[in-house]
């Protein structure tokens, strides 16, 4: 899926049409269809455990990762399917992971919350809220220490900003950044809720930028439903982080169209109206309209994308379906390193 990996050098002008824009629309549509498929398979009982989908937030990770380079690292929470797909992980392997199959991207041992594809830069997939922020910060230090020019992307939600590990990681990132030793792009996927707790109810100050700037880390707030806005900011910011080795934090304001997880049916914390209103700013529709304007994108073009996306998602499900469960021996593998013991 990431066959045309974009380079942040070549910044397409939002005003004019570029093949990249349509490619990104295609990717967003695919994420949407893929996530819908995971919800269906969850209801069928094919997918177990917790399932957190990215529906409604597609423009955030799509816009930001489109400013990344091969070799860059990505850390995410448990809402991580889109991140894997955009890094070019095989959709079949991602779906197989959710199905708990041996062909899964994490060998079926991690599941939805723990997608890993280290070869493509995906370092997980974590289930403890905020727990991955220190990891991402340490990896950013390591990149510079190892004289690599890549950057780390670290995604987390608004609710994750209230836990200690957020604070400790931010302060260390701010400190190391002064030495140019912390090229990490923090991305707040601010969908306004931590599960059922709205941001006003979980954060003393809802202006999250103050939270981050308190660690000498600059922030920028972007409309997370507008791919152009996200991409525009990301291009500038990612280049800056790459050049300076200093952290930066992007707050992408977005909305979760689905429940928090597949089990969140009632959603007593928000009204149907609120959700409907939010859906009026569907990132896919917004981009599609822009491309109709500037690229003369036709309904036919979109139809093709849709067909392709649905077919790809279906293929992924079929691959997962047809894959075998992990070999029972896998239970005991990868607990610790294997082969000749050190010492």
């Amino acid at each position: 899926m990431a066959r045309k990996k974009s380079q942040s050098e070549a910044v397409p002008d939002p005003a004019t049409c570029s093949p990249e824009w349509t490619d990104l629309l295609r990717k967003m549509i695919f994420i949407r269809r893929f996530e819908e498929a995971t919800e269906r398979e969850f209801r069928k009982g094919k997918i177990g455990g917790y399932l957190h989908v990215y529906i409604g937030q597609e423009a955030v990770v799509t816009g930001i990762q489109s400013a990344g380079k091969p070799g860059d690292l990505v850390y995410a929470g448990y809402r991580d399917h889109a991140h894997a797909l955009l890094l070019g992980s095989d959709p079949g392997a991602v779906m197989a992971e959710l199905f708990g199959r041996g062909t899964g991207i994490s060998k079926g041992k991690g599941g939805s919350m723990h997608l890993f594809d280290v070869e493509r830069g995906l370092y997980g997939g974590y289930g403890i809220v905020g727990g991955h922020l220190p990891l991402a910060t340490g990896s950013a230090y390591a990149l510079r220490y190892l004289k690599r020019d890549e950057v780390v992307f670290c995604y987390f939600g608004d609710g994750a900003m209230n836990i200690g590990s957020f604070h400790e990681a931010m302060n260390m990132a701010g400190l190391w950044g002064k030495e140019g030793m912390c090229p990490v792009v923090f991305v707040i996927e601010n969908n306004g809720y931590a599960m059922g707790t709205s941001i006003e109810r979980h954060s003393a100050l809802t202006d999250l930028s103050a939270r981050v700037e308190a660690y000498a880390i600059p922030t920028e707030k972007v409309d997370g439903q507008d791919l152009f806005a996200v991409r525009g900011a990301a291009d500038r910011i990612v280049r800056q982080v790459r050049e300076t080795g200093r952290p930066f934090c992007i707050e992408a304001v977005t909305y979760r169209f689905s429940g928090h997880g597949a089990a969140d049916i009632l959603q007593p914390y928000r009204s149907k109206e609120e959700v409907e209103i939010a859906k009026n700013r569907d990132p896919i529709v917004i981009l599609r309209n822009r491309l109709t304007e500037i690229c003369g994108l036709t309904d036919e073009d979109v139809e093709k994308m849709e067909e392709w996306a649905v077919a790809e998602a279906k293929k992924a499900v079929e691959f997962a379906e047809s894959s075998a469960q992990p070999d029972p021996d896998e239970l005991f593998h990868h607990v610790v390193s294997e082969g000749q013991r050190i010492g």
Binding site: G48, G49, Y50, E97, G100, R101, G102, G104, S106, G108, K109, G110, G111, M113, H114, Y126, G127, I128, V129, G130, G159, A160, N162, I163, G164, S165, A194, M195, G196, T197, R201, H202, S203, A263, L266, P268, Y269, Q325, P326, P328, E330, L331, F332, V335
Partner: protein, 328 residues
């Protein structure tokens, strides 16, 4: 007596204790507006209001620490961990603060705080969300650690915990939330913390366990009674700390054979203490070494087939019983 689910027994006890005592409050993530991920606190925000049903940010250490700060002034906070796995983020507040303040203050404070939530293997929640923490917390003096295995004990132990003066780690078996059982109606019904119980009488072999694994052991006991005429005595260690060995020792003096069943890892786990304690006390009574039935020594895998291999099942318990009976 009335039949109730393990979940309802917990919910009801919280409501009753809050009605009885203004100082009892509940706090946790998404327990109010969201009504609780396992719906233990459903309806309570409406009933008691936001001052007594506190939705907290995602901040387990903050939750436990603030609850301790309330407790030392006479409030009786009950903290819900969405799952007990998250309490590890608050481990320092639990084992280094809640558990020790009474002691290093020379006894100047009471710390009536209850930290409750589901623990143990779920269904495909994978490694970070599937842990049983009985020995993790059971090791620390200053804490009480309980793990009810029936609706009645869930109610009686929770009430004792709430009315006590000390920090209590209340380990609920998520797998038992739906389980039904008889629960006394007495509004003051309590189960003392620190008392094990005989869950099933038997003369041939003693099986020691708690929570979900205790329920599995009971099933096995019935089966063996029917199929083999073997009478298994099942001891429910519903209190992990303090640990009451009396019923265990008495039983082993009778059966001379013991099996310990736990879901979590063997090494430095619950079963080790039970086995060692039996040797300490009634070594000469044993006709066979104590056998431990435990989970495999691996983080919990996601794939269902692997997950099922990672934790004990009825046949494993049955095999262990046959082993101490020298049968096959």
């Amino acid at each position: 007596m009335a039949e109730k689910s393990y979940r309802d027994a917990i919910h009801e006890t919280l409501v009753e204790e809050m009605e009885r005592d203004e100082n009892v409050i509940v706090m946790g993530e998404d327990i109010g507006v969201y009504e609780g991920t396992f719906r233990i606190t459903a309806g309570m925000l409406k009933k008691f209001g936001p001052r007594r049903v506190i939705d907290t940010p995602i901040a387990e250490a903050g939750m436990v620490g603030t609850a301790v700060g309330m407790a030392v002034l006479g409030m009786r906070p009950v903290v819900e961990m969405m799952t007990m796995n998250f309490s590890i983020v608050a481990a320092d507040q639990i084992v280094n603060h809640a558990a020790k303040i009474r002691y290093f203050s020379g006894g100047q404070v009471d710390v009536p705080v209850v930290i409750r939530g589901p623990h143990g293997a779920g269904v495909q929640l994978s490694a970070q969300h599937s842990q049983s923490l009985e020995s993790f917390y059971g090791h620390f003096p200053g804490l009480f650690v309980v793990a009810p295995g029936t609706p009645a004990d869930a109610k009686g132990l929770l009430r004792s915990a709430i009315r006590g003066k000390d920090p209590v780690i209340f380990l609920e078996s998520a797998a038992l939330y739906g389980m039904k059982g008889e629960v006394p109606d007495d509004p003051d019904f309590m189960v003392p913390i620190g008392e094990s119980r005989v869950a099933r009488e038997g003369s041939d072999v003693t099986v020691i366990s708690f929570g979900k694994m205790m329920q599995l052991s009971l099933k096995v006991a019935e089966k063996l009674s029917a199929d083999e005429g073997l009478e298994v005595e099942v001891i429910d260690i519903r209190s992990i700390r303090p640990l009451d060995l009396a019923p265990v020792l008495e039983s082993v003096r009778k059966t001379h054979r013991a099996v310990v069943v736990q879901e979590q890892w063997k090494l430095y786990g619950f079963g080790a203490e039970i086995s060692a304690a039996i040797s300490d006390e009634v070594f000469d009574e044993l006709d066979a070494p104590v056998v431990r039935v435990t989970g495999e020594d691996v983080p919990m895998p996601y794939a269902r087939n692997l997950e099922l291999l990672a934790v004990p099942h009825e046949p494993d318990i049955e095999r262990a019983i046959m082993e101490v009976m020298y049968r096959d």
